[in-house]
Symmetry: D3
Subunit: 312 residues, 6 copies
């Protein structure tokens, strides 16, 4: 595939490698250094003049380091006369900061979208933004994929009798509905109030889950607090068993263990938009790959083929 | 109040007048003309050099005419050397186009936000955007008010025993929850699928409404189709009586009559963010004024006082 | 012609169709909808990634609707990753608002030029701007055609003995001179004062028209008021017969009839930069097509050939 | 007048001094140097933080030197934290390059307007732009004065019986008409064709000048070629005597002498928007000052008073 | 001091507190949080509408965290309608990345300057940039202070007989010369070649240091590698004793100890542009405060007084 | 080489011609005119739509004329729909104004970089900028060449025994070191203080030059004042003979003669980045051509090949 350059930051080289193998394109190496004063330094390892450059970097932890690294790579590619630069953000962490729900705060998702623009990103390819409106924060064209087909492809192979799709929050209910329709299931939702970042209260479950096998879905699971609270409420409401699914497995600290330890939790299904270290691996954890999806999108962007047709 | 200029487009001079009376500031006149070739022409009627200019214009029907008129007024105020220009948009109609839910469409809310910027708006003051994320579409500072206190102030004066707050759609459920908490009520939601702009299907009601008096809330009611569909589903589910509430009463054609004709609909409560012509008036229709709210916000913006404190 | 996409707004699909036939390129379909709240919605009907997109939309009546439609189409094409987007404006209605001849007004032609830029137009192709300086309002490259050869091609087939070219206004005298030189004729001009948009006074005729056959030229005729006033003055000055010519036939209401009803008016010649509805058709009205001219320009822009060579 | 800073480039310190005396504000000194490699260097001589800075610089010959000097002064004032910077351009030489009348040229007036913006000009104050449309080239607010009242104030003191206003070109005919109306006179125009910058042909005189005293008006006179050609044509048409008037007296080389040498030329009236060196002085040359006009405009801009009221 | 708001990020609250005490202005509190997914969240603690906001944040370690925090604070202040926002960067760490000395790298200092602009900084106040040219990277006005007088004020109190100023590198020699002239001393310089970030070779000492007491100066000391190498070369060249001075005491890991352990090193003098933790304190380490200097500059910026006069 | 257009301003047509011959591409002609009012006019002589345009123009004397000419050519090429426009600046005169070493001045190098951007330059190709940081002033990609290999290629053919590289100033010492390493020589430096543009004092020579043959290097020589001062100091320090080398031979007035008249000056070596008129030719003056270097860079930019590989 001539005229294409695939670069990876340090956030998720495994995903980048998998995408490159899918595309049968070699990964162009990049040198990363850090000065004594903690400033980052990146050097793209090969000529990319007039090339169609894709830089793969989910904003995984440590987010600030990975973001700055991405901005430096974008700027370096621009200065190196790339023809077009696409920031590939399988996980855009700041998407959750998408509204001004308190005075004198930043709508950080918009800010970061503008920082990407300032740094030289001509396009963005991203996946499962926290809300669909975040698409509109970007000043450049965005291809916004979702992993619904990837996740649904897993669940259709399992048992769906007596199953129901449940989401912890009205905010995600529209996506849950879509997911439920793919699987031919009903949907229920928690009525969540956020007390703080790590503390939520779920007042009630809206919808009937009595005796049901719940496929509990959310866009991302970080510390798992909301999810544990939701499982308790669902048990109160008579739900029987649980399969947990999320696109972005942030899964900080012992989130996997805390979720997996209850016997009624059958599996936790996520994707590899974020690297999941070996220390988080657990027999109940299933990680699906989005590399083919991202690879196909890159292929279509490069050749000017329709990307929306990927969703059908 | 020296150094302030209040202007009004032709969309809602009554609201502008009411705001001016609240502020005890005269409305600066504007001349509106239309050339034979249908191009608009606006001329601000008095010197506004170095003034703090507020231009009041909800994007009511005809939307395109009112939008262009606003853009011309912004540009005229800029060319006339205003110190600062605030676009006051009590109703930002294009806010509903806030995501790319089909390929090759415009996220028009973002586009219009940028058009306002290009035309000279230094700030925006708006009210009850369709989704909170739309705030982030604007490149300039935005004060985003809501009419919840105005509407809740009405309902607390009525009967709330056996009442429940219901919204037609998960997308609005978060706001409905907030509204319900102000009134100390539970919440239920329809699970809506949009077939087309005027056709929706509500599959199920999530939450128990049997024997309840429903306060049905939405941000805007245009042709009332969703609302009628919702009322039918609520009746199926055993709901008893209905009070309908929305911030933006677009209320096209005979929407008021169609909603009001059922005996179990007790009242339709809305605000005057959009002018509601005499032909739409109906004994069951109650229009609350947002002029004091907008006036207070303008006062606080002009004097550099906190606007967020208006929400408490 | 691979790599090209021709789109048409709803202003003038006939012209777009004619251009496509000239180019032997199919018109890519677009879906137009209107929400209940009057907001517009456009969806481009086929993939246009990496394509050279031309969007044909004269700003004909209703101007604001057609302008907003164009802006939405530009933004949709940009979001859909078009390689280059050219706004084709056979008639740029706002060009007449090209100066600040009163305090506190907008130079709307400049504003609209900037709105096109904000919405994603990379280039503009237009025809017979009201004044040549308007070219300089656009921040992007503009190809500015004129229909002089099209119109002159008609008149050279007629009688030119005893003919003189007359324009209603000094502002158009330079163009009239050029047109007269093509036809080998003299030129005269009215000395027009505009009282209001629809009322003008022509004080005097500068130049000798006694006994002459006048080819009266202007860039656009809207309600025909200026033209009728001019004809009267020309009759006062002894002119004999009249042929009327304009590039943009806005021709509102009964303008054609009012112009045509005098026996000494032999014909009214215009072009199809604006659609002329069947209700305006009249035996004395002759509509020439600019589709070959625009089609050739699009062809040359797409292939990087000189457009200025079209003028010779 | 606290909070104001008046600066002058090297183009016209006399005019700047006269404006300062009119305003009773001292001129802030500026140091001008030139490096050995011909690069310019400017240093503003006093603190101008948070000040309302006006930089007076007509683009007189040598134009490029004066333009670059202005750009450097603008940038220096911006870097020095001026609150607002107004470029005062009594003569905007590049205004004549206002259209694309040949392929592959620059519309230089637009370019220079953008250069002023890039360099830090927040506003422009200018006078008698070659065409009114050039106002629309500037991205920042412009106050566009004209010297008609200054010039008319001179002529009303002379003999106006049998007088007629004549302009060399249809392009200036609208302004000539306005000027004629102030004086209560008729207007005539030459039909000029430009062969090259210094060569023009005037085919005919449109209007009756037989036995008339012509007040010949134009916006600027450079080498006087057009004017001499026009005088000859007017003599052919029977005109009797001539008074010549222009706003901008560029008057290169021996233009004054060539114009003044004919006995039937009674006087040449211009203003001091451009410095007129002692070597150009001639008994028939009358130079009127625009300093009070510019000074009043600066005063009004600084205090936020209406500038348009200066025209009545 | 009404109308001013001083904010501090988490990089150096002590310095911010000292500046506030110097200015007799209270520090406005800010809330800092971190979401489970590592995204930052900042909330300004008090109304700052129409206020002149200064945000104090040196880019100390961890640089990326402190930079992102600053960008979020800038954006929050802009969204909160601050009248003017000044980023106060006592230490601009990325200034060292000021050139493209290898292919395909970012000139990160320019990039970060642009990021500050994108995030809402209207001005920058900084101190001792690595090279003076970095001033020109910023698109907004910059006040660039230096700590020479602060440092020189210390050394003039010590012994200067037989002293010489030495810098490790030609790149800093101009500043060293200025510093030497303040102290009335000669200057010498190392001829440094950088092998990697932590490894340098100093080939030779240019200048005679035999028997001299060296005041070794540099802008910043990070791991101290260059400095140790320089001391060895100076010892080889016969230098006697050393006093080490730098503006920015990055002083990572055991840099202080390694520098201080040689007996011939008498003292290490730095400033508090960066917080120096108690674990780095050493009897030979002397930390001078730049708070009065920064406070005076803030005072002068706020009141529109000359800042350059601070240097005399 | 299809799809490429090489243009030359009037600054150095000989260099442009030599580059074209090297590339085997014809120079596209440009017409240059000057209006009577001194405004410039340029017209590109052939279609350059969709072409990769390179405009060659060193900022040689008269700098302001050549700069404006370049800006007009850039704008004309943009308006003529060039695909990409590269400003080729073999000598960027304003690079010396790269810092704010006095209050209230412009960092003119940054300003000019922004003017190039405003005028349409998509890229810059330049050579031996006064300081490497100036690269970071440009908002667009820059290819920054140096003539070290060209100059070193000359000196390696001469005698290098007992030779030493000397620079007049610490500011250039890093480059001198690099140059010395290519030649395998030591380096010494003057400690220069600038009194004014044409007056400098060199206090001391740092480094041992006794009995040495000095290759004195600098980036540019204008009036030669610094160089003459340096030679005197070097003689004082016992240097024997001198070869003078600079990249940019500005060489104003009798600079060549003054430098060449001393017998101990063996030769003056420079390049043709600036035209050196026949009146400056001198037996001791050797002018090396950078045309092959610039030509190779243009070739590589056009074809997307690595330019950095030119340096090895």
């Amino acid at each position: 595939m001539p005229g294409i350059t695939i670069l990876s930051g340090q956030a998720h080289p495994e995903l980048a490698g998998e995408i490159c193998r899918h595309l049968e394109v070699p990964l162009t190496p990049t040198t990363f250094r850090r000065f004594s004063n903690d400033c980052q330094y990146v050097q793209i390892g090969d000529n990319c003049r007039e090339s169609d450059v894709f830089i793969i970097q989910p904003l995984s932890i440590p987010v600030q380091e990975h973001l700055m690294e991405l901005l430096l790579m974008l700027d370096a590619a621009r200065g190196a006369s790339a023809r077009r630069i696409t920031a590939v953000l399988p996980y855009f962490a700041y998407a959750r900061s998408d509204k001004k729900d308190a005075p004198r705060i930043s709508i950080a998702a918009r800010l970061v979208a503008d920082l990407l623009d300032t740094s030289g990103a001509n396009r963005v390819l991203t996946l499962a933004l926290h809300s669909e409106q975040v698409h509109g924060f970007f000043p450049m064209p965005v291809d916004h994929l979702n992993a619904m087909n990837v996740l649904a492809g897993h669940f259709v192979q399992g048992e769906l009798k007596d199953a129901i799709v449940v989401c912890p929050d009205f905010g995600y209910a529209k996506n849950a509905s879509k997911f439920a329709r793919i699987l031919g299931l009903d949907v229920a939702a928690g009525n969540k109030r956020r007390i703080s970042d790590s503390e939520v209260i779920i007042d009630t479950i809206v919808g009937d889950v009595r005796g049901k096998d719940c496929i509990v879905v959310d866009d991302e699971i970080a510390n798992g607090g909301s999810m544990l609270e939701l499982l308790d409420r669902l048990r109160d409401a008579g739900a029987r068993r649980f399969r947990i699914s999320c696109t972005h497995g942030v899964l900080v600290r012992d989130a996997v263990c805390r979720l997996a330890e209850s016997e009624d939790v059958e599996e936790i299904v996520t994707t590899n938009t974020i690297p999941i270290g070996p220390e988080k691996m657990h027999p109940k954890l299933k990680v699906l790959s989005v590399a083919p999806l991202l690879g196909d999108a890159i292929h279509r962007i490069h050749f000017g083929l329709s990307v929306s047709s990927l969703f059908h």
